[in-house]
Amino acid sequence: MWKTVYAWLDERIGFDSLYTNLLDRPEPKTTWWNTLGSASMFLFILQGLTGIFLTVYYTPSPDHAYDSITYIMEGVAFGWLIRGIHHWGATLMVLVVFIHMLRVFFTASFKFPRELTWLIGIGLFLATLGMGFTGYLLPWNQKAYWATTVGTQIAGTVPFLGEFILKALRGGPELSALTLQRFFAAHIWIIPAVLAALMGLHLYLVIKHGESHFPTKED
């Protein structure tokens, strides 16, 4: 019964070839260093899931942001666990993505024909940092408030465009409810959408080209 259902679906969807292409594709001799991309993707999914769960209780308003997070930490069952995973997962994701980038750099895997994979990867790294920057403000505590004050002020030092960039980031000349709301929108909609799209392209290219060999002494 199950076999017939599977065969019917496989004919129309093609699980088997998907499986072969995605998970059973030929690989050169690899090490644990080659697993960091997958680890990054896993962390992205984990952050996505715990983030979705956090929005069930979090409120992006200066009146309630801090209180709602206190409630998540102390009031809701296992709120501390969900937020803990999201908090530490964020740090870990920046770290893993960065080490992944270093690995690709030192094994020269960014060379032909993988230049585009590398460039998209830079976009992914920047988007990951953007997630960290926007997420940092959301607890709306002293550290978040002043880190964002400083961070947006730094962006404001860009010649000519600085003041505009600062106002665009803050939604006005000063940090306000608008800042919190737009950082929230960026954190849960805009940057994740960019990340997901770039990840799709990145993965497509990785699968198309396969993993690169580690360079030998002759290289």
Binding site: F53, V56, D67, T70, A77, F78, G79, I82
Partner: protein, 163 residues
Amino acid sequence: MSGSNELSRRDFIKVTTGIVGGLIGAMIGLPSVYYLIDPALREGGKDAWIPIGKFDDMQVGVPYPFSFTRVQVNGWERTASSFGGYAVRKSDDELLILNSKCTHLSCTVNWSAEAGAFLCPCHDASFSIEGGVLHGPPPRDLDVYEEHRLTEDGIVEIFFKGA
């Protein structure tokens, strides 16, 4: 490996990954479900005696409207919920206290002296002065605050049951 009873390296990895992954998934997944349904498992407000008005102000045959609010802490905020009803004095010492929440879909009914009935604005339902369904979709008569008492000062109090 075919024909051999020994576990192949591949199968070992598959089984181990499955078990470890399943354990980690359950360790995070089960608390996540609890996290989501947590508010549904909490107790509602507290029971209380609520004063609704002076007994002498309630005239026979004229429903006496009353309302009160109960404040409850929900998450990070205190929420005030409104409740209301009508005290119907049937005779000198007989009192019927109706809940004005329509038994159909919880809209609030209002007494209409003109119609001589409680009318619900949502789905055109009407109830008699004693709370019986006269017309419309409600499945049962208006709810009654069964427990009520008269204080020494002549104030009527009803017993409000928290959720």
